[in-house]
Amino acid sequence: MSQIPPEGTTTAKEGSAPLSRRHLLGGLGAAAALAVSGMGMFTATQSSGEAPLASAAGTGKAGTKRQWAMVIDLKKCEGCVTNGKAPQCVEACNAEHFVPPGQQWIQVFEVEDGGGHKTFFPRICMQCENAPCTKVCPVGATYHNDEGIVLINQDKCIGCRMCMAACPYGVRRFNWDKPPNPPGAALASYSPEYPVPHRQGTVEKCMLCAHRAKDGKLPACASGCPMFAFYFGDLTEDLATNGKEVVQLSRLISENNGYRMKEELGTRPRVWYLPGHGQEYGRGIDDIRAPQTPRSWQEQGTTLDSVHQMDAKASAGGEAKK
């Protein structure tokens, strides 16, 4: 079993990096789980909300590619109004990526339901299969990686904003100003999967935490959500987890009347929504409390070091649990 090479280590910049213990453990975990249950690609940790994905991303069984997807359960999303905090998904995202001020890569909207009551709607990048943005890019700076995530190469982007005009979900943001970068960012190794430091004059957006999936972790918004409303999963293996439970992705969508945003456009998003208004946490439809304004990474006092420390703690926790 220990001979199974950790998959995906040949992709991108990871290629030459020495294998970490976590990678090895991840690979082992996947193999073991497969052997036992035949479907266990996720080893979920109950308490921390961190679910180290067993395989270190890349390929799953028999060389099939991971195809990442997200299901957002609106029954579980109460806009963080019941816990008296700003939407934690947004703050986690801001801290993880040092999202430039004025931008929100995940945005929580208040929308009206059919009966005229308010519900919450966290919107990330839809990761469309038929993505309007990647089609119109004149230089191929925005593209799908082989796991179906729409990325932007900010070293290639010319800042024409054609993709922003094309995106029907309004998820893309532009660095009009010189974006502040965290201390030490100059040393951080930039990649489209983790676009830090940020570059002026280029487009940015949610990239489904491609860098975290690679390390076997849930996206920042999913692990930051105290309500476990985000299910991150793989279409190839038809599995998803919110960090608390592991479910069959297709059943989760079907049994809960899942839908995709602006389905009629034919963009084939890889993000599904399960209708609801936060009822699982007791939010009634008459609750008129609006979400608080999320803090930027600077307001939260996040630095590169603190993110690294959080990561280290989380992965140490994950490993200890195994």
Binding site: G102, Q103, Q107, F109, E110, V111, E112, F121, R123, P132, K135, V136, C137, P138, V139, G140, A141, K156, C157, I158, G159, C160, R161, M162, M164, A165, A166, C167, P168, Y169, G170, R172, R173, F174, N175, W176, D177, K178, Q200, G201, T202, V203, L265
Partner: protein
């Protein structure tokens, strides 16, 4: 008066501004140059501080620059196109118009080509288009087609300029500086007016005039597709390409009337640019105006009848909301009024047509703006409508580009005759050949209206 005498008179009149520079010309050129410098300085500020100095934001991602881009591609479309069509159909009245028509196209396209680069977040990466350009992107179609049209228009302008350059080389003599004589000699490429040379020029000219028409149509079509290939309300339209083409013809024809009036007054070309030319161009303006309004009606009817939620929100803002003033001024002042006034025989005087043509282009600029901005401010998600107010930098750059357009034309007209002497002579010769009796003036040839063939 024989056609030789006619020709001598034309030469004297048309070549005069090339050697005598008035104070007014200098004043005009200096004002234009100052505006261009101001625009360039504003761009330097933008280069230094980034697009944050503009009024654009994450909702309204394009503004004045892209409106200006569409406007100039429209103004530029008609000149060469109309010149090509008129040459192709052998319309004799084209002869005094072709030179400045083609010049308008070249100057407008030069400005048009600059605008997307000005709008880029990373102009330092312009070369990425060459390195990584993808044919799937509508933006790349523009980047291919607009320089093609610009190049073709320059060639087209230049071809019929060759005999005139030779004439300048031979006639100006000591009146011209050495540099100028060299310029004319180089540009004339050894033109002697030999039959073989004429044959070649005609062949090349015929080829270009046929080629130029589809390129012109393609130019404005690809500009429209930047918008129409997205999902946005107001842009997501199948008729956008022909709609833009007709709008461009309308706008471009109006610009020709404006230019004709100005050159007629400034260069004393009253005998050559007559009310007949104004009336003919006015007729074209009316035709394009009516077709454009028909397209406008078809465009808004098909979305306004069904009132899909996103279209409904946009139309409300356009016709009754925050953009209503602009939309109605543009529609009534820029489309209905110019078309109606240009159609009424009584109001078809040069002065009125000049005013109307300027109105039409102000209206078309507004129309470009209300195509670009409202569709972008229409929120795709449940958030507030975007707002956009152009910044000083954007306004300076836009004004600078207008001045640049005028400056190219002004400087060109200082070096080359604004009426093609060769083409006029050709017309007279052909007419003389048809009708050996020189009195009275042959039909189909332009002669001064008062006093027929003096």
């Amino acid at each position: 008066m024989s056609h030789e005498a006619e020709l001598q008179k034309l030469e004297a009149r048309v070549l005069a501004p090339l050697t005598n520079t008035s104070r007014a010309w200098w004043a005009w050129a200096v004002v234009l140059l100052a505006l261009v410098v101001a625009g360039t300085a504003a761009y330097a500020v933008q280069l230094k501080d980034g697009l944050a100095v503009t009024g654009m934001g994450d909702t309204v991602i394009w503004g004045v620059y892209i409106s200006n881009f569409v406007f100039f591609s429209g103004v530029g479309m008609a000149g060469t196109f109309i010149s090509g069509i008129l040459r192709m159909t052998g319309a004799e009245w084209r002869r005094p118009l072709t030179r400045f028509s083609e010049l308008t196209t070249v100057a407008a396209l030069a400005m048009c080509a600059i605008m997307p680069a000005v709008d880029m977040g990373r102009p330092d990466r312009l070369w990425h288009l060459l390195l990584y350009g993808r044919l799937e992107s509508p933006l790349v179609w523009d980047i291919l087609v607009i320089p093609t049209y610009l190049t073709a228009s320059i060639i087209y302008l230049y071809l019929f300029l060759i005999p005139d350059a030779a004439l300048l080389r031979d006639r100006l003599g000591e009146n011209a500086s050495r540099g100028r004589r060299r310029l004319y000699t180089a540009l004339s490429m050894g033109w002697q007016g030999l039959p073989e040379q004429r044959k070649r020029l005609t062949r090349a000219g015929n080829l270009m005039m046929v080629l130029i028409i589809p390129i012109a149509v393609a130019t404005h079509s690809v500009v429209s597709w930047i918008f129409a290939l997205t999902y946005r309300a107001g842009w997501d339209s199948t008729i956008f390409a022909p709609y833009f083409v007709v709008g461009a013809l309308y706008s471009g024809t109006a610009m020709l009337i404006t230019m004709m009036y100005i050159f007629r007054r400034a260069y004393h070309l009253e005998e050559y640019l007559t009310i007949k030319h104004f009336k003919y161009l006015a007729t074209l303006l009316v035709i394009f105006g009516v077709v454009y309004m028909y397209f406008t009606f078809a465009e808004y009817l098909t979305v306004g009848y069904k009132l899909e939620s996103s279209d409904s929100a946009l139309l409300t803002e356009l016709f009754f909301g925050r953009y209503a003033a602009l939309v109605w001024i543009g529609f009534v002042g820029g489309q209905i009024l110019p078309t109606v006034i240009a159609a009424i025989p009584k109001t078809r005087t040069m002065e009125i047509l000049f005013v109307v043509s300027v109105l039409a282009n102000i209206g078309m600029w507004i129309k470009r703006f209300v195509i670009v901005v409202p569709s972008l401010s229409d929120p795709l998600m449940p958030y507030a409508w975007g707002t956009y107010t152009p910044s000083v930098v954007e306004i300076l750059i836009a004004v600078g580009s207008m001045a640049g357009f005028a400056l190219i034309i002004t400087v060109f007209a200082k070096f080359f005759p604004i009426i093609s002497i060769e083409e006029m002579a050709e017309g007279w010769e052909a007419a003389a050949a048809r009708e050996p009796e020189p009195q009275p003036a042959p039909s189909g040839v332009l002669v001064p209206q008062p006093g027929g063939g003096k």
